[in-house]
């Protein structure tokens, strides 16, 4: 595969910071999103020199933000209950999906949540999962079929 140069961090930050901010506000509410935002991009900075190429960096930042948000929500509700989402701008689809899909195989669950909860493209999901676009599509659709069987 053709090598894609790693861009100056500023470019990645200025292209993704607004959407990552909105994403974290949706997941955590505005107040907690501030810390999570800084933490996300600090983690990205720390990991940046270790990147092998510059492909799918947007998806990469999303996975970091997701991890930071999950940590934060876990921290808030150590008992493991489904945490409340703190903002009016919540997308219930995400929360329900995450809850419903907890016992799907890991890859299907991730694909379903990233596709239908976070609205990532299959290319981005493939990058996040370290698989191909076709495999990501496959994982999402079999995850959805499994969910559907469970719900009906």
């Amino acid at each position: 595969m053709e090598a894609v140069a790693i861009p100056p961090f500023e470019r990645l930050y200025s292209e993704t910071s607004d959407e990552i901010w909105r994403y974290l506000v949706r997941l955590l509410g505005r107040q907690a999103a501030e810390d999570a935002f800084q933490e996300t991009f600090l983690r990205a900075l720390r990991a940046y020199p270790k990147l092998a190429h510059g492909r799918q960096l947007r998806a990469w930042v999303y996975t970091i933000a997701t991890r930071v948000a999950v940590d934060e929500r876990r921290r808030r509700s150590p008992a493991g209950s489904v945490p409340e989402l703190g903002s009016d701008d919540v997308r219930p689809a995400y929360a329900e999906l995450e809850h419903l899909s907890t016992d799907l195989p890991a890859k299907e669950r991730a694909a379903v949540v990233l596709r239908y909860g976070y609205d990532l493209t299959y290319a981005d999901i493939a990058a996040a999962l370290g698989s191909t676009e076709a495999a990501a599509r496959q994982a999402a659709s079999s995850g959805v079929r499994r969910l559907r069987r469970r719900i009906s």
């Binding site: 790693i6 861009p7 100056p8 930050y13 901010w21 935002f37 900075l45 020199p49």
Partner: protein
């Protein structure tokens, strides 16, 4: 909904304070146009007359990809540049990072820093000062690629006849800088 300004600024400050940046930079206004001023932890590594161009890519290649606009690390350099342009400063008190510069060029640029405010020298004169009197042309090339103009004063080197010859930032800027320093009459 975009990132709140205070949060954006807080991240940029924190990234620098945490030592996570290869290069911090900021844009600054000057009488010779907007400048990009960039620094590593070792010192000022770039002053560019063309902040909109491919500067960030060059910085990433030369010093590492963690290049971020972050004003605090370059505050001191920006302040000194302001003072210089207001004619309140004749010497810069700044560390300069020439780590990305090849050895011969570094030699030239280091010697160049001894040419004082208000004075000029020639390409041949500078070549002689580094012990390579025939290398005037190579000295010209080294100056042309000076990554830190103004602070490393390549504008103070002129042709043997006194003509300005050339400047990476354009001859008009060279003329302005020399006029500011009182070197050019009129």
């Amino acid at each position: 909904m975009s990132v709140p300004t205070h949060l954006d600024r807080a991240f940029r400050d924190r990234a620098a304070a945490a030592g996570e940046l290869d290069v911090a930079y900021e844009l600054t206004d000057s009488p010779i146009g907007e400048l990009l001023v960039a620094a590593t932890t070792r010192g000022v590594c770039r002053i560019s007359f063309d902040p909109e161009g491919t500067e960030l890519d060059w910085l990433a290649r030369a010093y590492g990809a963690r290049v971020l606009r972050s004003p605090r690390p370059v505050e001191r350099a920006r302040r000194q540049l302001d003072e210089y342009f207001e004619q309140k400063r004749r010497e810069f008190d700044l560390s300069v990072d020439l780590a990305a510069v090849p050895e011969f060029q570094r030699l030239v640029l280091e010697e160049l820093q001894r040419v004082p405010y208000g004075a000029t020298n020639t390409y041949g004169g500078l070549a002689a000062r580094i012990g390579k009197p025939r290398a005037a042309r190579a000295v010209g090339g080294a100056l042309n690629r000076n990554p830190v103009p103004i602070v490393v004063p390549c504008h103070r080197i002129v042709g043997a006849s006194g003509s300005l010859v050339g400047y990476a930032g354009g001859l008009a800027r060279k003329e302005q800088l020399l006029a500011l320093e009182g070197t050019l009459l009129g």
